[in-house]
């Protein structure tokens, strides 16, 4: 079966900085695929390239059979209706309450009667455990609750694929556990394809079927969680164990400390 997302020889530069230097990868239907790597390696940029929000400098990004960077707005939007995205901040619309935020895609894309919209929204809110919070405004929600509401909104049109941008960042252990469980259960119960961008090692390893590790614009490791855990690469071990120094140095490149201190003496 053809992968849902096929990326080939992807090059992308931001300013003078090369973000991707010819990466190729596939995302298969029904799997939880994770992109891991240190901060600033372009994981979120990769999601934006898959979502068609950015255009590659070279190479191709094929999503649901369409080269997403070469389609008109109508086709782009029809592809996007098949995918949901959970932003790191939740990105809820601040002038709408929880119920209206979740109802937003339905109101924009369907002509469903109000009663059906209500039922669908309550169903999705129930699945993330926030049916009781439907009247709250986004400013009244905690970070974890906002992300759960955003998740309900992302699945309300029953997409085939969901992209999660740093879903675990800044959450307490209980909320983190809740989000892990939700991602896992939604993936299984709705037959979704999930793409997770994260640098939270334990959580990601616990739910991912396949992981790509990105660093310095290239895929440095890939495989299932067991393969990665047993990798002999020094870089991989440093990343997985969270060691401050190693192949990725603690110090930003600079001249020798002693000579720096003696400047002007």
């Amino acid at each position: 079966m053809e992968p849902i997302v096929q990326i080939r020889d992807l090059h992308f530069t931001r300013g003078t900085r090369k973000i991707f230097n010819g990466i190729s990868l596939d995302i298969h239907a029904g799997q939880v695929t994770a992109f891991m790597g240190p901060s600033g390696t372009g994981k979120t940029t990769l999601l934006k390239l898959i979502g068609g929000q950015l255009r590659p400098e070279k190479g191709s990004v094929k999503v649901f059979g369409e080269y997403i960077h070469n389609v008109n707005q109508e086709t782009l939007y029809s592809v996007r209706k098949k995918m949901g995205m959970l932003f790191q901040s939740g990105a809820l619309l601040t002038d709408l309450n929880v119920f209206e935020n979740v109802a937003f895609p339905l109101r924009e894309h369907t002509q469903l009667p109000e009663q059906i919209i209500r039922d669908l929204v309550l169903l999705k809110l129930e699945s993330v455990g926030l049916r009781g919070a439907r009247k709250l405004m986004p400013s009244q929600l905690s970070g974890g609750m906002a992300r759960r509401v955003a998740l309900a909104r992302a699945i309300v049109l029953d997409p085939s694929m969901i992209m999660y941008d740093e879903p675990f960042t800044g959450l307490d252990p209980i909320t983190k556990g809740t989000i892990v469980t939700l991602i896992k259960e939604l993936n299984e119960s709705m037959g979704l394809t999930s793409v997770i961008v994260s640098h939270d090692v334990d959580e990601t390893l616990s739910i991912a079927d396949y992981i790509y590790v990105i660093s310095e614009g290239e895929i440095v490791e890939s495989g299932d969680p067991n393969n990665l855990s047993t990798s002999t690469s020094g870089w991989m071990q440093q990343f997985l164990k969270g060691l401050p120094d190693g192949p990725v140095p603690f110090h930003y490149p600079s001249e020798e400390f002693k000579s720096d201190l003696l400047v002007g003496r």
Partner: protein, 261 residues
């Protein structure tokens, strides 16, 4: 040295043209989205409330004081020529032709334009616009265009209110405090202010200023750098650029409508 100075000037000029080109494309997208936005009047009414109704206080209070000052200044000047009975015409002409549209637009840019730029800029910074894009909802159609239409409708109405309240302010000072005959105040105004030449032209100015102010505010917000500093710059630029655009356009429109240039 000279080469680098010339390069800087060239780069700045290119930047200005690029920015104007991108603002023009943005404007064209808004206009293209107007027909679909009109099918959702509830969104437009919400924006008329937000940028129009909520600006009423500042418009009414400012209009009243501007009219009162005009009444006082007009009286002081006219009384020397024994023409104080013409105060109504002076106040009305000044407000209808110039101060009504110009001051309303300047106040609108300060009160609602800056708020629009900050709101859109913050929506960008908090990824709300990106999330809409990812939900296959065009932010220009859903967020920008209703605000544009709301401003387009509100500014001419606010101009009319500002002018009407200003005329009442002039009457309060001229008739109520300085003893000018009330009949003269109103009848001279009625006889000399023309519906087409004065009132209609004043309202055309209001419409043109509305387009300029709302376009600038929405564009500055939409193109803001999504940081606190970027949003602060966007709001500042909105007010400054709107004020300059209004004053510049006012000269052009006045020359076309009333001048013999």
């Amino acid at each position: 040295m000279i080469t680098s100075a010339l390069q800087n000037i060239g780069a700045r000029a290119l930047g200005v043209f690029e920015s104007f080109g991108s603002a023009s494309i943005f404007f064209a997208k808004i206009i293209a989205a107007v027909p679909r936005a009109l099918t959702r009047p509830r969104l437009i009414v919400k924006e008329i409330y937000s940028v129009g109704v909520l600006s009423l206080t500042i418009i009414v209070v400012s209009g009243l004081f501007v009219g009162m000052v005009l009444g006082l200044q007009g009286y002081v000047t006219l009384v020397d020529f024994g023409a104080e009975e013409s105060l109504g015409v002076v106040v009305a002409m000044t407000l209808v032709r110039e101060l009504g549209p110009v001051v309303t637009a300047l106040l609108f840019a300060g009160r609602a334009g800056s708020a629009l730029a900050a709101e859109i800029g913050l929506m960008k910074a908090t990824e709300q616009l990106s999330s809409m894009e990812m939900m296959a909802v065009d932010p220009i159609r859903r967020i920008i265009t209703p605000r544009f239409i709301g401003g387009f409708i509100s500014v001419p109405l606010l101009t009319a209110i500002f002018t009407a309240v200003g005329i009442l302010g002039g009457r309060f000072v001229g008739v109520g405090m300085l003893g000018i005959d009330e009949g003269s105040y109103w009848s001279q105004m009625q006889a000399n202010v023309d519906l087409i030449d004065d009132v209609a032209n004043g309202m055309i100015k209001g419409v043109v200023f509305a387009v300029a102010c709302v376009w600038i505010a929405l564009y500055k917000g939409y193109s803001a750098i999504p940081t606190a500093e970027g949003i602060s710059l966007a709001t500042t630029h909105t007010v400054v650029n709107s004020a300059l655009a209004v004053l510049g356009l006012d000269f052009v429109l006045t020359a076309l409508m009333f001048g013999d240039l």
